[in-house]
């Protein structure tokens, strides 16, 4: 199953419990107070929704949500049949 940028941003807002309008590509993880536990919850949700296992340890150092979204989209969409 393929994902879109907007779906990933929705998921981040839901799991980190942040107002959706604040969840933009330019926002930083630090500004939004996204914790390590929020990240793990998010990775669980990704696995449930898209069937892709992403370990926290695999995630590169990231500052903005845009970087995170790009990384997650690449992992999800490379796993999905085209």
């Amino acid at each position: 199953m393929k994902a879109t940028e907007s779906e990933i941003l929705d998921l981040i807002a839901k799991e980190a419990i942040i107002d959706r309008e604040k969840v933009t590509r330019d926002a930083t993880l630090e500004d939004l107070g996204i914790s390590s536990l929020d990240l793990i919850s998010m990775l669980f949700e990704l696995e449930e929704t898209y069937g892709v296992v992403v370990e926290e340890a695999d995630m590169p150092q990231m500052t903005t949500l845009g970087e995170m979204v790009d990384f997650l989209l690449s992992r999800i969409n490379e796993a999905a049949p085209s």
Binding site: K14, L37, I40
Partner: protein
């Protein structure tokens, strides 16, 4: 008892619907929430089973989540969401949402038999079934039995004494007694009390089947052909408040908590005992001065299991003797199922409205008299009553008994 305890708010959610009044009207009108449900346990479970159950409708559960801030409901098991929903309704009715008294002079005591069973089963399916090394970080906070009271405290800003009680089917009855105690001892002016449960999950239901407690078709309290209980889920909350405090702020008084009896059988982990049950009822009736009353509404534990109902009828007889036929007995689990930890609170919410309206709701699904269950059952349709007082019974597995006394 030095301080009188008023009831200033009621809340309920169950298979009968959302709202204390909705639940009351359904019980009064003889509507049942019991239907056949299919329980599917996932890829590693045995074949699904179909069993009667009384569950809060799924659409309603989602509506509840949407009503509360995501900061709280994002990480809650269903049992906690149901408790939160009932607490919110009760606090709104009491006019206490955002009230300054909530902050430091209010306590919370909610009872739950098991806590986050749905979360437990999903997490363990990943771990044991799918052999996933990773456990969801929400697992522990969602499973813990105190997750419900913490959610209520966070949602409404309550900083006073807050804890959960757990005594299987008597959990919310013990919670009500403990909440009243906080007020009586001066530790709080208000107590948010009650309970909730959501354990109608595939693994849990298999356990209840194993113990041979479940009915094959429906819940038939005190009927000779009864063959077990029907699992329910939901929650109910009462706002207990120091009478002077309630009057001073002009709150509507919906009823009064008069006292309770509590005993332990110290006998058997599943079988009831006559002395334990009758002891609790006698203590409560004595505390409230009801032993010689003309008419007392008795909300029976009435699970529909062969053993409980026979023992409970004998216990009522043992306490009231020849006065037994005066006291109308209701058994609303025949409508809302057995909410386990939440049952006593929901029965209290319904009994208080029965006293207020002068109507006793009928025992449903009753087919034939049992010579071992001779009490004055309300059958057929709701019946007019004169009673100004009610006893609410809760007799738990493990022999933990509570009887609560209320006045209209």
């Amino acid at each position: 008892m030095s301080r009188r305890i008023a009831i200033t708010g009621l809340g309920a959610v169950s298979a009968l619907g959302i709202g204390a009044r909705v639940n009351w009207e359904a019980a009064r009108d003889g509507r049942s929430g019991i239907v056949a449900h299919r329980f599917e346990g996932g890829p590693h479970a045995p074949e699904p089973v179909t069993l009667p159950a009384a569950l809060t409708p799924e659409g309603h559960a989602q509506a509840l989540e949407d009503r509360f801030s995501r900061k709280v409901s994002g990480g809650l098991d269903r049992f906690a969401v149901l408790g939160l929903c009932a607490a919110h309704e009760a606090l709104e009715q009491a006019g206490l949402v955002d009230h300054p008294a909530l902050s430091h002079r209010t306590g919370i005591v909610l009872g739950h038999g098991q806590g986050g069973q749905e979360t437990l089963e999903r997490s363990y399916e990943r771990f044991f079934g799918l052999k996933s090394q990773r456990m969801h970080p929400g697992t522990v906070p969602k499973i813990m039995v105190s997750g419900g009271v913490s959610a209520v405290a966070m949602q409404f800003g309550v900083h006073g004494p807050t804890f959960a009680t757990s005594s299987a089917c008597a959990s919310s009855a013990h919670a009500i007694v403990q909440g009243a105690g906080l007020i009586q001892t001066g530790l709080a002016d208000i107590a948010i009390v009650g309970g909730s449960e959501a354990i109608a999950t595939p693994g849990s239901m298999a356990g209840w089947q194993a113990i041979q407690a479940l009915a094959t078709e429906t819940c038939r309290p005190f009927s000779r052909d009864r063959d077990g209980m029907v699992m329910g889920d939901g929650g109910a909350v009462l706002i207990l408040e120091d009478m002077d405090h309630a009057r001073a702020r002009g709150a509507e008084i919906l009823g009064e908590y008069l006292g309770a009896g509590m005993t332990s059988d110290a006998f058997h982990i599943t079988q009831p005992s006559l002395d334990g049950a009758s002891g609790a009822i006698r203590q409560a009736a004595t505390a409230a001065g009801l032993l010689e009353a003309d008419e007392v509404l008795i909300s029976a534990h009435g699970t529909g299991t062969p053993l409980n109902d026979r023992n409970e009828a004998a216990a009522i007889q043992a306490v009231f003797g020849e006065r037994t036929p005066r006291h109308p007995v209701i058994a609303t689990k025949s409508a809302h199922g057995h909410l386990i930890g939440g049952s006593a609170a929901l029965q209290a919410v319904i009994a208080l409205q029965a006293l207020k309206t002068g109507l006793a709701p009928p025992v449903l699904n009753y087919n034939e008299p049992d010579p071992e269950c001779v009490v004055a059952l309300v059958l057929g349709e709701a019946r007019s009553i004169q009673a100004r007082h009610a006893l609410v019974n809760a007799f738990a597995f493990g022999g933990l008994n509570v009887s609560l006394a209320f006045a209209a």
